[in-house]
């Protein structure tokens, strides 16, 4: 059976035969960049369509169904429309920051892709502090949002950006704590090690109740960090019209839009890697027959399956719940999630030290 790991290795070997080592690195970087960008484009198209279909089914309607079979090319049509649209810059805007902001948000999302293991050995950069890297870089995207809000010279944008700042800074904490729970359980910061530690069962099942609590908190914090309903304070359509991207139009708006979905994908991928074993197939202890059957499904399918399951949960949240108010949002973090995750961390440590997990 083919595996992505072998394809990567053989390509590397082939390139090393043909070129000098410096050139090989350069060519590989280009290939990776192309792959990353095409992944982004596909993700944007798929996730936007998925969101619209999920919302439409929950709202007893059909959703897009005119462009292509079952409306599959709706997002392609939308993208073309957004590219052709005029990108306007408001008067008195800080033009440099205004144009920079969408790219910054996008670049952050791209950097976050680096340590993600898509399949066994199929990873851009297996950095030894992967988890730390992800939680550090993900908070940079708030700078892009703040930039967009400030430079637009619009009060709605400013309010949205400030809300987003307060929100992401606070939810970073509980997201970090819930990630820490898995780091303690697996004893490593490297993504590949964390996945290997789940070879005999996912942490969500192995880690008892503390892992479950950490998972729930992670999902809530991830929803908040990606500015999605019910935590979409930065956009808050009925209050701030469109929040920080009120003044953006055309392709720059599309970049914000795309970055939102890519961020959703990335946090869900991280959640899937940490709690659901990433590309690791579903294994139950020593049940060899069952484990063997599961191994036949390729790792990349497992990875995307788990990630899209988490994405569905986040969409499900969005189309069910009303929006919180900004002070309630902060109350939820500081009065509920933070204390709970602190206590939970203690529990996890106890579980890890006494080896109660499987």
């Amino acid at each position: 059976m083919w595996s992505l790991n072998e394809i990567v290795k053989s390509t590397d070997l082939k390139l090393n035969e043909l070129f000098k080592p410096g050139m090989v690195f350069f060519i590989e970087a280009i290939i990776v960049a192309l792959l990353a960008i095409s992944l982004f484009a596909i993700l944007g198209l798929v996730l936007v369509l998925m969101e619209r279909k999920v919302s439409s089914f929950m709202q007893v309607r059909l959703g897009p169904n005119r462009v292509g079979p079952k409306g599959m090319f709706q997002t392609v049509a939308d993208t073309i429309k957004l590219i052709v649209k005029e990108g306007m810059t408001p008067d008195n805007a800080d033009r440099f920051l205004f144009h920079l902001a969408p790219f910054l948000v996008m670049i952050v999302a791209m950097i976050l892709l680096a340590p993600l293991p898509f399949a066994n050995g199929f990873q851009i950069w297996d950095i030894n502090i992967g988890v730390l890297f992800v939680s550090a870089v993900s908070s940079v995207s708030v700078i892009g949002i703040l930039m967009a809000g400030w430079s637009s010279n619009n009060k709605y944008s400013l309010l949205g950006a400030m809300r987003s700042g307060a929100q992401i800074v606070s939810y970073e904490l509980s997201a970090g704590f819930s990630i820490l729970a898995i780091v303690i359980l697996s004893g490593s910061l490297t993504f590949s090690d964390i996945i290997q530690s789940q070879a005999n069962g996912w942490w969500l099942f192995k880690g008892h109740i503390p892992a479950l609590i950490a998972f729930v908190i992670f999902i809530i914090a991830a929803t908040a960090e990606t500015n999605r309903a019910p935590f979409d304070m930065a956009e808050a359509e009925s209050e701030l019209t469109a929040g920080f991207h009120t003044e953006y139009s055309g392709m720059k708006f599309a970049l914000f839009f795309l970055a939102e979905y890519v961020n959703v994908f990335i946090v869900c991928a991280i959640g899937a890697t940490l709690f659901l074993g990433g590309w690791m197939p579903l294994h139950f202890g020593d049940n060899t027959t069952f484990n063997h059957v599961m191994d036949y499904i390729p790792g990349i399918v497992w990875f995307f399956g788990k990630t899209f399951f988490l994405i569905f949960i986040m969409m499900w949240f969005r189309w069910t719940f009303p929006r919180l108010r900004i002070d309630q949002l902060l109350n939820l973090e500081w009065k509920y999630l933070l204390p709970i995750s602190l206590i939970n961390l203690l529990l996890v440590t106890v579980v890890a030290i006494s080896g109660w997990h499987f």
Binding site: V54, F57, M58, Q59, V60, R61, L62, N65, W316, F317, W319, T320, F321, Y336, I340
Partner: protein, 156 residues
């Protein structure tokens, strides 16, 4: 005590959210509940009383029942209807007022049905046509009586 209240609060909140999520999921997995009507493919059922536009009824002999009495014009609250009359000569040689042009301005009509109520000879009625959009506003000003139509004999 405080802790029990705190935990109760958290569980109550999670439960209320879970109930809502169950409801949306139940719709998500039951696509037969979808109520979308795909309009141009799927024509809506229009009630027979639907007020879409005013029409002057003609029979197969191209005859209508309008005497040109302008009762509808007077009843109309927004000046939608304009009746232009002429004088016909009856076979007995008497001059008689008759309808020349029934001008109906659809763009001003609010479909209030007052003209139909006012008509003494029931010559006009509300039709159920509803696709009125045109590219030129002038097309909405309509002449309701057919070319060469005349009043049905016996209608006074």
């Amino acid at each position: 005590m405080f802790l029990i209240k705190y935990i109760k609060e958290v569980f109550g909140a999670v439960k209320s959210l879970a109930i809502g999520m169950r409801r949306t999921l139940s719709y998500f997995v039951r696509p037969k509940e979808i109520i979308t009507q795909q309009y141009p493919d799927e024509r809506p059922v229009i009630a027979e009383r639907f007020r879409g536009e005013v029409v002057l009824m003609h029979d197969e002999n191209n005859e209508h029942a309008c005497t040109g009495c302008t009762a509808c014009e007077l009843a109309c609250p927004n000046g939608t209807i304009k009746i232009v009359t002429k004088f016909d000569t009856t076979p007995e040689g008497k001059k008689k007022k008759a309808l020349d042009t029934f001008v109906y301005r659809l763009e001003m009509c609010t479909m209030c049905n007052l003209c139909v109520e006012a008509c003494p000879t029931s010559a006009i009625k509300m039709d159920t046509a509803y696709e009125h959009s045109v590219f030129d506003r002038n097309k909405l000003t309509k002449k309701l009586n057919n070319e060469g139509s005349k009043i049905r004999s016996g209608v006074e």
